[in-house]
């Protein structure tokens, strides 16, 4: 039970990192990133591939973060010219293309077979549960740093500008600020965070395949921030906790009702995500933790 709780907490924190990245991009800047999972995948694969070839974990984690952030750069350059919904479609296309690349380029990623036996964090600690606790502790520290960092960013002049971009881009332009530059920076930051989440994921699960990086993951994160409340750091955290309850809860339902097959449960989960996206957007757009002044 204890090991199970630690495992859930680790996965939840990985999702919190993803949600924080998206909160920065969508919640604060208004960038509709439908390709978040693409950067998560880039982080996971970069770090895993480097670590497999003997690079120390700290460096491969850093590389995963940086490569994912840099991958957002060209997307950001395109974002300068696009209106909201085009940007959403482009990013969705990007994440699907990332998945096609990792599926097809077998020499690098081992294709659909995926990469097994990725080095663990704290492999030197032989006691399994202790190693998990160490991973949890590191993740917790990283998440707290990310949350505090986000808090500072949001309150800084930079934060005021990106919120202004979200609320009225033309006004920002009129003040002589270039919204495009800020959008690119926000994209790189958020995607880097997703890349870091990916690195943690790869080295915790120790086995990655392209199927783990389907668009549904992006919309898990979207659901989390929409339920929690868009544009709120606390919303990202609360939403992720509820997401975990949903994902893990469905596992318990399967334990109690084993006649429901795995694929059926996957469909049910998909349906619940869909329903929540619809209901929350219609009836509670500000989310659970949301700002009631905005709609």
């Amino acid at each position: 039970m204890e090991a199970y709780l630690v495992a859930i907490a680790i996965v939840a924190l990985i999702y919190v990192l993803l949600a924080l990245g998206l909160t920065l991009q969508y919640g604060f800047t208004g960038l509709i990133n439908f390709g978040h999972v693409g950067f998560f995948a880039i982080g996971a694969y970069t770090s895993a591939i480097l670590a497999m070839s003997g690079v120390p974990l700290v460096l491969s984690f850093a590389a995963g973060t940086i490569v994912a952030g840099l991958a957002a750069w060209p997307i950001g350059l395109i974002a300068l010219r696009l209106r909201d919904d085009y940007f959403a479609i482009v990013t969705l296309g990007f994440s699907e293309t990332v998945r096609l690349v990792i599926t097809s380029e077998k020499w690098l990623t081992n294709g659909v077979q995926g990469i097994p036996a990725i080095p663990r964090m704290f492999a030197s600690i032989s006691v399994g549960s202790l190693a998990s606790f160490a991973v949890l502790a590191v993740l917790l520290v990283v998440t707290i740093i990310a949350v505090l960092g986000m808090g500072r960013i949001v309150k800084s002049p930079f934060g005021r500008i990106i919120e202004a971009i979200r609320d009225n881009e033309d006004a920002v332009k009129a003040l002589g600020k270039d919204p495009a530059r800020f959008k690119v920076q926000v994209l790189i930051l958020g995607s880097g965070l997703a890349g870091l989440a990916g690195a943690f994921y790869a080295h915790y699960i120790t086995y990655i395949v392209p199927d783990q990086f389907i668009p549904l993951v992006t919309f898990y994160v979207w659901m989390a921030i929409i339920i929690g409340g868009v544009g709120r750091v606390s919303g990202a955290v609360v939403g992720t906790v509820l997401l975990m309850v949903l994902l893990e809860g469905s596992r318990f339902i399967r334990d109690v009702m084993p006649f429901i097959s795995d694929v059926e449960m996957a469909s049910v989960r998909l349906g619940v995500i869909g329903l929540l996206l619809i209901l929350f957007t219609i009836y509670r757009p500000q989310g659970l933790m949301g700002d009631f002044t905005r709609r």
């Binding site: 439908f34 696009l82 482009v90 349906g271 619940v272």
Partner: protein, 297 residues
């Protein structure tokens, strides 16, 4: 020798173009549905793909029940139009006046819900339409499947139908008026509710046909239509958002380009062709081939 070789190469590409045209008709129909919603209701409907899947299943049931492909087509058109109208009434109508994001995210939700429902009801096994085997037609070395010709005919009929509704009926004129200038259309006495009802039924019917065609060309599974979403968006944007004719022409182009690209980039990257086309269009000519600048904003 070189002449024979040249003819061989030419035939190879001609064959790819023929295959691409059929694929392109499906992309074009899907793009037509996307562009109509975008033009009139003003948002990118991400549920289009999964609505196509619904159409494919409706057609499958129609065929299983009666054995007739004509009945199957009727079932696809009727059921999907009804579904589309229901989704409008229950969901999108409530979001009138809200941000593009709200509509976009909700349409993703609708798509997921549809796909989940189809998965639970029909399971995840791949299902096939029973199509009679026919001898392919050979035309100067080119192999044409008569079945493809039938599909092309169905698509042509659907397209003519849509364009007749749009350009030869009063409700079509109102639809175009709303697409053109919403405020002006409203002050000139057009009732948006009626236009929306007609729009969603028309879009549903087109989507149903596209779904059935896709299902007949491949296999029917709950994930069928989702894969089509990106090419549909790409074609709608390439054609110029809000331009029905543009969507169809761009769909055909995209279908052909996708097929022609396979010898170079391989089968798996076919889907990313639409992504690349999308990027290029947005960078070079964001209003698309036939769109007006006004239509983009």
């Amino acid at each position: 020798m070189s002449l024979v070789y040249a003819r061989h190469i030419a035939l190879f590409y001609a064959q790819l173009i023929v295959n691409g045209l059929v694929q392109g008709l499906i992309v074009g129909l899907a793009a037509l549905a996307v562009t109509l919603v975008f033009g009139v209701a003003r948002f990118a409907n991400a549920a289009t793909g999964d609505t196509m899947t619904f159409g494919a299943y409706a057609a499958l049931i129609g065929q299983k029940a009666t054995g007739s492909l004509v009945v199957a087509g009727g079932a696809a058109v009727g059921a999907t139009a009804l579904l589309s109208l229901t989704v409008y009434a229950l969901v999108f109508r409530k979001l009138a006046g809200r941000s593009v994001v709200a509509l976009l995210v909700t349409s993703i939700g609708v798509g997921f819900l549809l796909r989940a429902a189809l998965g639970i009801i029909f399971g995840h096994n791949q299902q096939l339409f029973t199509v009679p085997l026919v001898r392919p037609i050979r035309f100067n070395g080119l192999i044409i499947n008569p079945f493809d010709l039938q599909l092309a005919a169905v698509a042509a009929v659907a397209l003519v139908g849509v364009f007749l509704v749009l350009y030869a009926t009063p409700i079509g004129r109102r639809m175009r008026a709303v697409a053109d200038n919403r405020e002006l259309a409203l002050v000139s006495g057009i009732r948006p509710e009626r236009v929306m009802i007609a729009l969603w039924m028309l879009v549903g019917a087109v989507t149903g046909v596209a779904g059935m065609m896709l299902g007949m060309k491949t296999v029917v599974s709950p994930e069928l239509g989702w894969e089509m979403l990106l090419p549909a968006f790409a074609a709608a944007i390439l054609g110029g958002i809000g331009s029905p004719a543009g969507a169809v022409i761009a769909g055909l182009l995209l279908g052909v380009v996708q097929e022609l690209s396979t010898p170079f980039v391989g089968f798996t990257y076919k889907l990313s062709i639409s992504f690349v086309v999308l990027l290029l269009v947005l960078l070079v000519r964001p209003r698309g081939l036939f769109g007006r600048l006004e239509g983009v904003r």
